[in-house]
């Protein structure tokens, strides 16, 4: 089977490089203790066969599967688990090692191995997601990497210069060939531990080829002509027509996964003093402005134009695709331009000179710039539709499309931008694993990131609720608390969402056993049960 990715992997080591292609490679070659089933969004046993939770709710006794071996024949044991944790917390890792992904409340877990097939994991604080965290930790072979860890060179281990024969794992496939800039070839791991329900050893496929195709046009053409069997990421709205035709001819199966997990986000720079002595500072950071913007945009029309019809209206950061945590109780702002104008009048923005556009009391035009990323069609299109919609309620918007890095540099520093329209993606569906976004001190709290103390009363309230939410062990309580968080968010709207794209995945019609999920990699998160019709 041939799949295509957009970029070359940055490393063969998911612990040190978190790019999309390394992610795909990890799903193919590695296995975790427990796995989040991307379709049900629930966890299921994987290398861990079963586990029990102690009464304090913080410590878990995990039984590992017996008779599991790495692809190179070396047996798997609790030592490898201990090693993987040690590697994840390696202080010499430098940068975004996997460490942060397997911490609770910013502290590492304690792990011990009473016997070779048992691991005891203790959380430093009460942590609601529990073992869900282990989905972030592919188990690495101690016998291959221990030397590097001890030498302090783990961060550079398993780089692209490493011979592929050195790369081994517990996953369904083994990397057998890497041609830089061209392709990765994976062969079946005959020692893989899973069997299907009728006892046939998995995986079914003998070989998976991952072609590196930087241009999405090329990916679509390969799929259409049968030179590739799947794209590992979703199709663009502009590719739909071509793929639909190929589907009508029976060449391609087109899967509609519904709305995406993330919606593109609009926010105004809420860093205190961001606007200095600018006369607009009096109204730019007011809640009413963002509320008015939310009322002033026809989300249905927005979705139809921005995603060429393949979009769904969205009202908050948690979209309906997040089945467990989406709440229909959270208020949704309808399209109501009159309401928007009333809100704007409330903060002193009226059309004083009769030109159809608003001004504040001193006659300064209600005008701000909107920074977005150049080269991302959906973002550019979204910013333009936003501008046109806001013009109708009298707000003037100047779009500033910057190169991605330059835009992010401005957002992270909190300086040099007024409003932003940008894609921010959550890594997990569970809110307890999104604290960087929700907490006022978080680095991903985009509208005013890294606060020392919460800047507003409602942000303090969210901080407290999220702390409760993360610690609570009762799922019902967690859900209620998070609904509360979403309600506060919807009231103050620090980030306004308008529409999420519908995710379309395309694969050749000969690929069977697909279990598509909205999260990336939509197809290849579960590669062991794929097969190809002859």
């Amino acid at each position: 089977m041939v799949a295509s990715v957009r970029t070359e992997p940055q490393s063969f080591n998911w612990y040190t490089q978190h790019d999309g292609t390394t992610d795909v490679l990890t799903f193919l070659t590695q296995a975790r203790l427990v796995r989040v089933n991307r379709v049900t969004q629930e966890i299921e046993p994987w290398l861990a066969e079963r586990w029990t939770r102690a009464d304090d709710g913080r410590s878990y006794t995990v039984k590992l599967r017996a008779n599991v071996t790495f692809a190179d024949g070396h047996p798997f044991s609790a030592d490898d688990v201990l090693f993987s944790f040690a590697a994840a917390y390696d202080p010499k890792g430098g940068g975004p090692t996997i460490g942060g992904d397997v911490m609770a409340g910013g502290q590492p877990l304690r792990v011990s191995a009473p016997d070779p097939l048992t691991v005891v994991i203790t959380f430093p604080v009460p942590f609601a997601p529990g073992l869900r965290l282990l989905d972030n930790l592919p188990i690495l072979p101690k016998h291959k990497l221990e030397a590097a860890l001890q030498a302090g060179t783990f961060a550079d281990a398993w780089s692209l210069s490493t011979p592929v024969s050195e790369i081994t794992g517990l996953g369904p496939f083994v990397l057998t060939d890497f041609r830089p800039g061209q392709r990765l070839v994976f062969s079946r791991n005959d020692r893989y531990f899973r069997k299907d329900s009728s006892g046939v050893p998995l995986p079914y496929l003998d070989r998976v080829v991952v072609d590196i195709v930087p241009d999405q046009n090329g990916q679509v053409l390969r799929l259409e002509t049968g030179q590739a069997d799947m794209m590992t990421s979703e199709a663009r709205p502009e590719d739909y027509a071509a793929l639909k035709r190929a589907a009508d001819r029976g060449r391609v199966q087109l899967v509609d996964l519904g709305g995406a997990l993330d919606a593109d986000s609009f926010w105004i720079n809420l860093k205190p003093g961001a606007f200095g002595a600018d006369p607009r500072a009096t109204w730019l950071q007011r809640d009413e402005l963002r509320q008015a913007i939310s009322f002033g945009v026809d989300r249905k029309a927005f979705a139809d134009t921005v995603f060429l019809g393949a979009g769904v209206p969205v009202y908050g950061p948690v979209t309906p695709a997040n089945r467990k945590w989406f709440s229909s109780a959270v208020p949704q702002t309808p399209y109501d331009p009159a309401r928007a104008e009333a809100l704007l009048a409330g903060i002193g923005l009226t059309d004083g000179n009769g030109d159809g556009m608003l001004e504040d009391a001193r006659g300064v035009a209600a005008r701000f710039s909107l920074t977005t990323q150049k080269g991302q069609t959906a973002l550019e299109r979204g910013a333009q539709v936003l501008r046109d919609e806001l013009k109708k309620i009298g707000l003037a918007v100047d779009i500033v499309a910057l190169e991605g890095n330059a835009a992010v540099a401005r957002f992270v520093s909190g300086q040099g931008y007024e409003a932003a329209y940008f894609h921010i993606g959550m890594t997990d569906v569970d809110p307890a694993l999104q604290t960087e976004y929700w907490l006022s001190a978080g680095g991903f709290h985009v509208w005013n990131l890294g606060q020392k103390t919460p800047a507003t009363a409602w942000e303090r309230q969210i901080d407290e609720l999220m702390a409760r939410q993360t610690a609570a062990l009762d799922e019902g309580e967690r859900k209620r608390t998070f609904d509360e968080v979403q309600k506060i968010f919807a009231e103050h709207l620090p980030v306004v969402h308008f529409a999420a794209p519908r995710i379309f995945m395309a694969a050749s019609s000969r690929v069977m056993g697909l279990t598509p999920a909205v999260q990336r990699p939509q197809f290849l998160w579960s590669p062991d049960s794929l097969w190809v019709r002859p």
Partner: protein
């Protein structure tokens, strides 16, 4: 020799000139000729095909020019069908425009279809011509001036001066232009107005384009310098500048003409490339470069070929430029000889 080539050259040249003049007139008269503004969106007509202007209705009877509205068959695939039941007559010279649909909201006149934003491609093509052609021609002129001067001096003086100047032009060529543009962008205010972008792009293009010109001019000047007439002029006491400008540079005229026709399309396209790093015009302003960039996907080839119309327009302009300029120099020489 017969006079035929000269005559022929003359007609070809007229053809070229008429292409250019038509384009220029259409571009200048865009507010009158174009049925719509460049940023007017028809949300229900994303990627709609061109509307055909008809004279015969479904019943087969003749009538004043009219169009059929498009009805959307599939939103996701952007397929449309003509609604034959309700012809919409065209309105001439109404609301200050040459021609438009009499019911613009329901059945806009889209002579070259709509783009993926639902904007009228024909109107954008006309308005875009103003910006793209003005920018490309100005920049090409600037590049020619800089290049001819540098190349001329380098070729005339020779030696170390020549080497330094040519290496400097190499430097300009291999410098990562993207970073230069990013640094320039970071030094400028967050929102840029169109005139500032125009001036900046023209300057950047003129500098980046000049090495190509300088290289050729240098070679030509260098060989011409050795010819008798230059030596004669110099011995008659003509100053260096005079020898260079009056005697040597004219020999490069033909080369310059070809280079201009190479640079113009390259600059039109480069405008879109620089907008990637934020040095672009506000999106409300149409340009051929950005239109072409938006059309750079397989859907345009397979399903929406009208999105490629800026490419066709660019061909016409470059061809016209080529016919006009090239035959002027060659033709002039023929005529001189006759």
């Amino acid at each position: 020799m017969s006079r035929r080539p000269a005559l022929h050259a003359f007609t070809v040249q007229r053809l070229g000139a008429s292409v250019l003049i038509t384009t220029a007139v259409a571009a200048l008269a865009a507010p009158f000729v174009a049925p719509h503004e460049t940023d007017r969106r028809f949300p229900g007509l994303l990627n709609a095909p061109p509307t055909a202007v008809r004279l015969r209705d479904a019943a087969g009877s003749w009538r004043a020019p009219f169009i059929y509205p498009w009805t959307r068959v599939s939103q996701l695939e952007q397929r449309y069908e003509e609604d034959r039941t309700s012809p919409v007559p065209l309105a001439w010279l109404a609301t200050g425009r040459l021609v438009a649909s009499s019911d613009d909201g329901r059945a806009p006149l889209l002579l070259l279809g709509a783009d993926s934003f639902g904007r009228d491609v024909f109107s954008r093509l006309l308005f875009g011509a103003r910006l793209s052609l003005a920018l490309a021609l100005l920049a090409a002129l600037g590049a020619t001036l800089i290049g001819a001067l540098l190349g001329g001096v380098a070729g005339y003086v020779g030696g170390v001066v020549d080497d330094v100047m040519m290496r400097a032009s190499d430097f300009v060529l291999v410098l990562p232009a993207m970073y230069v543009a990013l640094v320039l962008r970071a030094m400028m205010p967050l929102t840029l107005d169109a005139p500032a972008v125009f001036a900046l792009l023209a300057a950047i293009f003129a500098v980046v384009g000049s090495p190509f010109i300088a290289r050729g001019v240098r070679a030509i000047v260098r060989t011409e310098r050795a010819l008798d007439y230059a030596a004669a002029a110099a011995s008659l006491g003509a100053g260096h500048a005079r020898v260079l400008c009056r005697h040597l540079l004219p020999a490069a005229r033909g080369f310059l003409v070809v280079e201009i026709t190479l640079l113009v399309p390259a600059f039109i396209v480069a405008e879109a490339t620089l907008s990637y790093v934020g040095l672009g015009f506000p999106d409300t302003i149409a340009s051929w470069g950005t239109m072409l960039e938006d059309a750079s996907n397989i859907a345009a080839f397979a399903d929406f070929p009208w999105l490629l119309s800026p490419a066709a327009a660019m061909f016409l302009v470059v061809w016209g430029l080529n016919l006009t300029l090239q035959n002027r120099s060659a033709g002039a020489q023929y005529e001189r000889l006759m």
